[in-house]
């Protein structure tokens, strides 16, 4: 009987092990920058996108991206999850495996610009001026991205925070929709009697609506966290007044005492379950919570005690990086992609405001009265987190998702503070982390 044995020597085993171990090492050393994966002269433009709405949006965006063919290049598409997105981008950029073009956090372009990773979009802007797309932008949406060195990004949609109300609850409570802070307080008291929440918000795990509502009320009163020159100005009179008003809403039970811990899901459930009657939320909140019956409506901007009105806007943008197979190709891709954005609104996949007039006029967008109201009434008065100033910068990223604002919001929502103490703590928290 003959047996065939495969001999596997110790040395062979060691060799195999060493080879296996070397694979990740070689892979790690290989880098793999955006410029290396190209199959054509201009290489492949890596476009990273975020989950801005449902997965269907990303599917559509992917199709648009893969349809690009210009400047001897093509483009690839990748979704980056919001969880730890800054870390994801940072790690990739540091290892030269990052994107050539991306969407991302509202102030991400400014952060990476500080670190020399952003390719300025001045040439792109010139191209947009030449092809007429620049004139199609809504007023004032491009300039916030201009720094001393150039444009760090171009806008592609506006994420608005506006006031919403549930019509049936106001009817049930027998009060009008608030037009100013005084009527908001009165309406809140009446709504409380029927078990409804007169100023719905939330500041639990991962929920930024509460933080944004705080800033929105400051802006609504002509205040804001920064001066027009971009200096910290947390303790101004208007902010104090706004915080005092919010504390009054808390003490009157108009803000839900559990709001401090409400996640986005908890808050959305309050709206869906007809508990929330009035409050700040994102545009197209009705779609988000699954109630498009017409009972959830965008309110007109309310006036502060001095007659000021204001909303909050996050101009979300697309940025280009220095690590690209070809700057020309990056720009060509971005011109192409901006031109294709219309498709996302046509398919009703985007739940935010467009930055182009032509998209805002699309019947698919304009047929929703809430959208029209936001464009007509809120967009013109909306300010960014840079208020009272208007120049966006990297510091706003620290304000947007940072601990200082979250701590301030939660302190106010628990009601165990006074306005000045809360604002002082907010200011000192910001001072420790803002770039000097």
């Amino acid at each position: 009987m003959t047996t065939t044995r495969t001999t596997f020597s110790r040395r062979g085993f060691l060799g195999l092990t060493a080879a296996a171990a070397s694979v990740p090492l070689l892979a790690a050393c290989g880098g793999g920058s955006a410029s290396q994966s190209g199959g054509s002269a201009g290489g492949t433009i890596k476009f990273w996108d975020m989950p801005w709405a449902t997965p269907a949006l990303n599917e559509a965006s992917k199709k648009l991206t893969e349809g690009f063919s210009g400047a001897n290049s093509k483009a690839s598409y990748q979704i980056i999850q919001w969880n730890n997105f800054y870390q994801t981008f940072s790690s990739a950029i540091a290892s030269k495996t990052g994107p050539a073009v991306s969407t991302g956090g509202g102030f991400q372009a400014f952060q990476f610009e500080q670190q020399g990773q952003i390719a300025y979009a001045d040439n792109l802007i010139e191209t947009l001026k030449k092809n007429g797309m620049y004139d199609d932008f809504l007023p004032g949406v491009v300039e916030p991205f201009k720094t001393d060195k150039g444009y760090v990004a171009v806008p592609w949609h506006l994420s608005m925070r506006v006031m919403w109300y549930r019509k049936s609850l106001f009817e049930q409570a027998g009060v009008d929709v608030p037009k100013d802070w005084a009527t908001l307080l009165e309406a809140g008291k009446a709504l409380k009697k029927i078990g409804a929440v007169g100023f719905a918000t939330g500041a639990g795990a991962g929920n930024n609506i509460g933080n944004q509502a705080m800033i929105m009320m400051m802006i609504n009163n002509g205040g804001g966290v920064f001066t027009k020159d971009g200096e910290l100005d947390v303790l101004n009179d208007r902010n104090v007044e706004a915080t005092e008003f919010l504390l009054e809403l808390v003490s009157n039970g108009i803000i839900d005492p559990a709001a401090v811990s409400y996640t986005s899901a908890n808050l959305d459930a309050q709206w869906k379950d007809k508990k929330a009657a009035f409050g700040a939320h994102v545009s197209q909140m009705d779609t988000r919570v699954g109630d498009t019956s017409g009972d959830l409506l965008v309110a007109s901007p309310i006036a502060g005690p001095h007659g000021d009105k204001g909303g909050l806007v996050f101009p979300n943008n697309i940025m280009m990086y220095t690590n690209t197979p070809s700057q020309e190709a990056s720009e060509a891709f971005l011109v192409y992609y901006l031109g294709q954005l219309k498709e996302l609104w046509k398919q009703k996949l985007m739940n935010a405001l467009p930055v182009f007039k032509s998209i805002a006029e699309l019947p698919e967008f304009a047929s929703d009265p809430n959208n029209v109201k936001i464009v007509k009434e809120w967009q013109p008065i909306a300010k960014t987190l840079a208020a009272q100033g208007d120049k966006l910068n990297a510091n706003l990223a620290v304000l947007d998702g940072g601990q200082a604002l979250n701590e301030f919001t939660q302190t106010v929502l628990t009601g165990k503070t006074d306005a000045k103490s809360a604002l002082q703590a907010f200011e000192s928290g910001l001072k420790t982390v803002l770039n000097k």
Binding site: A258, N266, V398
Partner: protein, 326 residues
């Protein structure tokens, strides 16, 4: 004669010499002992080469990040740029921050409650399951669920149970006339809720560790103790606890590490709030790096945590060795 022979035999045995073998002088060249030493050297070389890839990988996986983190903790850079060397400034900033000490205090309580709470529940259930109860195996599997279910799922379930005044548990309290506790909105209640959640998630691990230790205890010891008149309590304190001490210490070490490093349990349920009431050191480190973009201080917090954990682990490990010797 045997009394004089025995020590000599033991001594030979310790030197690895067979009865009748030569114990005097050095082994002859080419003799069995030399061949053994040659074989031994060859075996060592083989082990060395076999271990080398793993060691290299371990160094790369653990060593490189550690060194890189050390660099970040002593610089004022970002996740991309190293920045300027600032020495111990980040550590000084962190150690002088009230937020750090508040987080350290919460971490301490969270760890104490997490370790001993889960140990007590696990011990109780392990003892219960040791007795013959109907469908004991099924219970064991069911009791493992909190450990097995992904933390994202269980935190969502707990949020659903306690988050709003109309959630199940607050409604239950209200119906019992106990008011409407805001389990996640009140800072003190939120801290307690997070700790209870941790105990709930962790007790199955403790239960399994203790069950395994109890399975190895000889039941005749208890029979003997009973015959000697020992009460059930005495049997528990004098026999059971000492016999499972080694496993207990190991489980304490592991659970301490789990608790101190536990990010998802806290972050998914409360995000560290309200008003930082449930911010542990690991949550603070995360928020400092990824929300405040202060990389150096954030990594410094992580370093301080690691050092503390090493000290605690060494102390508990010494306790294990002590209990082994005893």
């Amino acid at each position: 004669m045997s009394s004089t022979m025995a020590p000599s035999g033991l001594s030979r045995a310790r030197r690895g010499l067979a009865p009748g073998g030569s114990g005097a002088g050095s082994p002859k060249p080419g003799g069995p002992a030399n061949r053994k030493s040659k074989l031994s050297a060859q075996t060592s070389r083989t082990f060395f080469w076999l271990l080398l890839p793993s060691v290299v990988l371990l160094v790369l996986i653990h060593g490189y990040p550690l060194i890189h983190a050390g660099v970040q903790a002593t610089h004022d850079g970002s996740l991309i740029q190293t920045g300027n060397f600032v020495g111990g400034e980040n550590f000084a900033t962190v150690l002088s921050s009230p937020a750090f000490w508040k987080a350290a205090q919460f971490t301490l309580w969270f760890t104490i409650v997490g370790v001993f709470g889960s140990w007590l529940v696990g011990l109780g259930l392990a003892l219960l399951l040791r007795t013959k109860i109907p469908a004991g195996a099924t219970f064991k599997v069911l009791l493992l669920l909190p450990w097995v279910v992904p933390i994202v799922v269980s935190s969502t379930a707990w949020n659903w149970l306690v988050a709003t005044p109309d959630s199940l548990v607050p409604s239950l309290f209200r119906n019992l006339g106990l008011g409407t506790p805001l389990f996640l909105a009140d800072p003190n209640l939120a801290a307690i809720t997070v700790m209870v959640f941790k105990v709930w998630v962790s007790f199955p691990f403790m239960m399994m560790m203790i069950s395994a230790a109890l399975a190895s205890v000889d039941t005749t010891v208890y029979e003997a103790a009973s015959m000697d008149g020992a009460t059930r309590f005495q049997q528990f304190t004098q026999i059971t606890l000492p016999l499972i001490a080694r496993s207990t210490y190991i489980s304490w070490i592991l659970m301490t590490i789990f608790c101190v490093n536990d990010f998802p349990t806290i972050y998914l349920l409360t995000g560290g709030g309200p008003v930082s009431a449930t911010t542990s050191l690991v949550v603070l480190a995360y928020r400092t790096v990824f929300q405040d973009f202060a990389t150096g201080p954030g990594v410094a917090i992580a370093f301080l945590m690691t050092m503390t954990l090493v000290v605690i682990s060494v102390l508990l490990y010494r306790q294990i060795r002590k209990s082994s010797v005893e």
